[in-house]
């Protein structure tokens, strides 16, 4: 990991030279004459934080477009699950590889995953130079020995990259994991200092079934088990009432908002204003490419912002900078990654965006253009941990 000098780059409203060394932003105003192992001429480009995708199923990219425009139940039972039953570890590797290529091309440097055969995905991420939090998924239907094996894996795993990859403990959802296993997952995560990753309140049915089975909504049920805390990343969180929003905020739960998936599966409209005003940390995720159908966080920001405005009847809700913050800094911070903003001392994760692209012109406001007008093809270069993952559109 050498030093990197990004010359003549636009940072906010000024043009500057930026020095990266030891994987961190060393100087945002490198003096003339600064030398570095590698120099990038970034004239005509802006530097922006890259994306941190807090909920996906990377290998499901194999199922992109496999089954669309149908109800969730039919989609899962007749298409997704039978397909998944046939996936081999080699398929998981191929799917993860496709996902990682798409993510880097679209400016994402980190993803929080939940799937199976995680060794394959870990290895693909290791090779790629990205960051990831790979979920070890728990469902009740796995055998006791499978579950014990997973717990062992969590205890004895070491990160092959020395800092870019962590594991998470990922009980799938309240309707696929019983209370004992949920508690065991939480205890394991807390004893090992890992995050917990779970689907929560995605559909009305999930809430109704939980009420029928446990006499409580999913948020109250998880809270009664002591599951909720600042180490929990809850994906979706579409169907909650104000009291539940307050519980999530008080426990410090991070929410992964997945607008495209919620809309495409007609799961409902995310209550952004309610959760934001309750004080929850809200991050952004794409969900898997089988229900989105891509991993493009720029597009996801636009969906999040526009739909939140329409739902609240107020165009001032979620301005461009807030959408960016959700997709970048909040996502990084939720996973304890000291990045997501371009600032001295922060880990050197960044993208360079081509301002000559027709979609970025004219440039009255950089962030407005980026969130509302751009396409991921405006991304010229992607940097993660001080290393270049894509340069001039080439991986």
């Amino acid at each position: 990991m050498g030093s990197l000098l990004i010359k003549d780059v636009r940072l906010d409203d000024r043009i500057t030279d930026i020095l990266i060394a030891d994987g961190r932003f060393k100087s945002l105003e490198a003096p003339a004459g600064t030398v570095a192992d590698k120099v990038i001429d970034a004239s005509g480009m802006a530097i922006l934080p890259p994306f941190y995708n807090t909920h996906t199923h990377a290998a499901m990219t194999l199922l992109r477009g496999y089954a669309d425009d149908m109800p969730l139940h039919k989609w899962l039972q007749e298409y997704i699950w039978p397909y998944e039953d046939k996936l081999t570890p080699q398929d998981i590797r191929e799917g993860s590889r496709l996902a990682v290529r798409e993510m880097i091309k679209t400016g994402t440097v980190f993803f929080s995953d939940m799937y199976f055969d995680i060794e394959e995905t870990v290895d693909v991420v290791r090779e790629s130079g990205m960051r990831a939090a790979i979920g070890v998924t728990f469902v009740e239907s796995h055998s006791k020995s499978q579950q014990a094996e997973k717990l062992e894996l969590l205890k004895h795993w070491t990160d092959p990259t020395g800092g870019r990859i962590t594991l998470t403990v990922a009980p799938h959802a309240v309707y696929t994991v019983g209370p004992d296993l949920l508690v065991r997952c939480a205890d394991t995560a807390r004893s090992l200092g890992l995050k917990l990753h779970i689907h929560l309140c995605e559909t009305r049915k999930e809430v109704d079934d939980c009420l029928a089975e446990h006499g409580m909504t999913p948020v109250r049920y998880l809270d009664s088990l002591g599951f909720l805390g600042p180490d929990v990343i809850a994906a979706h969180v579409v169907h909650v009432d104000p009291e539940e929003a307050a519980i999530l905020a008080e426990r410090g739960v991070t929410i992964s908002h997945c607008p495209c998936s919620n809309l495409k599966l007609a799961s409902g409209f995310f209550p952004y204003k309610l959760l934001k005003e309750a004080g929850c940390r809200i991050t952004l995720g794409t969900d898997g490419a089988s229900s989105n159908n891509n991993l493009d966080m720029r597009e996801e920001m636009k969906f999040a912002a526009l739909v939140s405005k329409a739902c609240s009847g107020n165009p001032e809700v979620m301005p461009a900078a807030e959408a960016m913050d959700m997709a970048c800094r909040q996502g990084a911070e939720a996973f304890g990654i000291n990045a997501g903003v371009i600032a001295e001392g922060k880990l050197a994760d960044a993208i360079l965006v081509d301002l000559s692209d027709v979609r970025m012109q004219p440039c009255h406001h950089l962030l407005s253009n980026w969130v509302y007008a751009a396409g991921s093809s405006c991304i010229d270069t992607v940097i993660c941990d001080g290393n270049i993952l894509m340069e001039h559109h080439e991986l």
Copy 2:
């Protein structure tokens, strides 16, 4: 205009050679040995219909990102209108040029415009090779002599391209044009055989104000004036009741649905299911880049489909093929353009999409990938009227 042979291209689920001559699709299964003035090797690409954008304000691309995240009233009065007051014909030309470049790059070959200084936009379209229906805009606040001048322009105008450009008569809206001028516009359009282009029921306020002023909702008011007919393209149509949907369907009005603009300005959710089931022709528009903030019809299709599913609580609403049909064939047909589908005898408008792009892989279903997963950067080549407007990403 010579002949063009597109070799080894994917059309639906087969690989074929396609011959274009005299601006039309001559053969979708050109035999081996077919010769042409120009040959495109389209192996690894799919041919799809391009987009017909039925509502935009091209020159407003100059105002992209100029004012965002604020209420409509403030947006118009404090930002958009003062800016527009300063625009010169040269600015209109620059804005139109930027718009045309963005539209071609994102696969659009036709747009229905509504703005001013139309000679500039007409000239830019003439040069570009695109098609357009350029609206001559009427507002009550123009002087009588300005209005008379516009009526004269409409009567004496001839298309400098011999077929690619038409004018439309474009009274801005019921709140900016009085009943006499609305009727004069309709009469003029009908006597000249031109389309009428109007904003309709975009906001709740428009409906409430119309009720207060005329004792009728905008749809009923326009119908009482004899304005509505199969030559009317009505943009937005967000706030209508079932009876109004039936009136629009019965009169044969074409609707231009602009999902991004409606969401971003928090105007409301488009009642897709209501209007579709009433039997209305629904097409797709981007609106101006000042309220979108781009002219990317692929992104617009995804917004239209996903938000319609969520609004109706049914993921089967607006499947991918229906979104495509709306953005392509319906838009072309509404303007009497015999195009929008790849079929022998149709005008030769098409795009070639790169199937090797990571977002198009794997390819279980071509249209699902195109509507839900792709980005406009997957577009390699754009053809309009048998001529190549972009080849291998180069304009």
